[in-house]
C-alpha cells in the first residue's frame, strides 16, 4: 500500500522559491513540480505540502507548480482533492493554490 508523503518546500526544495519555468531560475515552479510534487503524487496515497518557512511565493511559481499538475501532468481535480493536502498558516495562500488548480481543470477541454 502506498505510503503518505510529506514535502516541506523550505527544507526539501528552497526557502526562496521563485519563477515559473526552468528558464526563470533553479527554484522555479516547473522544477518543483517535476522533481518533487509529481513523483510524490504518483507514489503516495496522500501528499502533504508544507508551504510555510519560505520567503513567500509568487503566483507564477504557484500556478506553474500546482496548476501544471493538471495542465501538464494529467492529474484530475478529483485526484488532487483526494491526494493533495496543503498546509500553511496563511489560509489565503492555500485558497489561491486551490484556485489555480480549479482554474487549470476548467481550462482542460472535456
Amino acid at each position: 500500500m502506498a505510503q503518505d508523503k510529506m514535502i516541506n518546500v523550505a527544507a526539501d526544495f528552497s526557502r526562496f522559491p521563485g519563477g515559473r519555468y526552468l528558464g526563470d531560475g533553479p527554484q522555479s515552479g516547473e522544477r518543483f513540480r517535476q522533481e518533487l510534487l509529481t513523483p510524490a503524487l504518483n507514489d503516495a496515497s496522500i501528499v502533504t505540502v508544507q508551504l510555510d518557512g519560505t520567503l513567500g511565493y509568487g503566483s507564477s511559481f504557484l500556478e506553474e507548480a500546482f496548476g501544471g499538475l493538471i495542465r501538464v501532468d494529467g492529474f484530475s481535480l478529483s485526484d488532487l482533492k483526494q491526494k493533495l493536502d496543503l498546509q500553511s498558516r496563511n489560509d489565503i495562500l492555500k485558497y489561491t493554490v486551490w484556485e489555480y488548480i480549479t482554474l487549470a481543470a476548467e481550462q482542460i477541454p472535456a
Partner: protein, 177 residues
C-alpha cells in the same frame, strides 16, 4: 394629636429600617449597573478602535504592495531583484495578517479578493527574466490599482457593516440644513 402606642413605634421603626436597607441595596445595585454599562461601552470603544487600527495597517500594507508591484513591472527585470523579493515577502505577511483578522473576528471572508490581488501583483510574467516592461498607463498597472482598491473597499465595507456610522438626531438636523 394622640401619642403613638409603643407597638406602633416599634412597627414604624422596623419599616424605616427595611426601607433604609432596601434603599441602600437599590443604590448599590444602580452603582454597579452603571459601572458595568460604562465598562461595556469602554470595551466596545476599545474593540472598535483596535479593529480600525488593524484595518488601517492592512490598507497601508496593500498600498505598499501595490506601489512596489507597479514599480516592479515598470522597471527592467535585471534591476529589480530586491524589489521582487520584497513584494513576495510583503504579500506573504499581508496574507498572514488577513488570515489572522478573519480567524479572530470570524468575519472578513475576503480571500477571493486578496487572491485576485496576489495573482495580479505576482502572477503572469512575475520573476521571468524576459518580462516585458510596461508603461504607467498600461492595462497591467491599472489592473493592479483596481485590485488593490477592491481589497480596500472590501475591508471598509465589512468594517462599516460591523460598526455602522450612527448619526444622532442633532447631526441629522445639521446635515439637513
Amino acid at each position: 394629636m394622640p401619642a403613638a402606642s409603643p407597638e406602633v413605634i416599634v412597627h414604624l421603626s422596623t419599616a424605616d429600617t427595611i426601607v433604609s436597607a432596601v434603599g441602600s441595596v437599590v443604590t448599590w445595585a444602580l452603582v454597579i449597573y452603571g459601572w458595568r454599562v460604562l465598562r461595556s461601552d469602554e470595551s466596545k470603544r476599545d474593540d472598535r478602535k483596535e479593529l480600525r487600527q488593524t484595518i488601517d495597517t492592512l490598507i497601508a500594507d496593500v498600498r505598499i504592495v501595490e506601489t512596489k508591484s507597479k514599480q516592479y513591472y515598470m522597471t527592467s527585470p535585471s534591476e529589480c531583484a530586491v524589489l521582487q523579493d520584497e513584494i513576495i515577502s510583503d504579500q506573504d505577511i499581508l496574507e498572514a495578517r488577513f488570515t489572522h483578522l478573519s480567524k479572530s473576528t470570524q468575519r472578513f471572508q475576503i480571500s477571493a479578493c486578496v487572491a485576485k490581488f496576489r495573482t495580479l501583483t505576482t502572477g503572469g510574467e512575475f520573476e521571468s527574466p524576459s518580462r516585458t516592461i510596461v508603461k504607467a498607463d498600461s492595462r497591467k498597472i491599472r489592473d493592479i490599482a483596481l485590485a488593490a482598491k477592491e481589497v480596500i473597499f472590501s475591508l471598509e465595507d465589512e468594517y462599516s457593516d460591523i460598526y455602522p456610522i450612527r448619526l444622532t438626531a442633532k447631526k441629522w438636523w445639521f446635515f439637513g440644513r
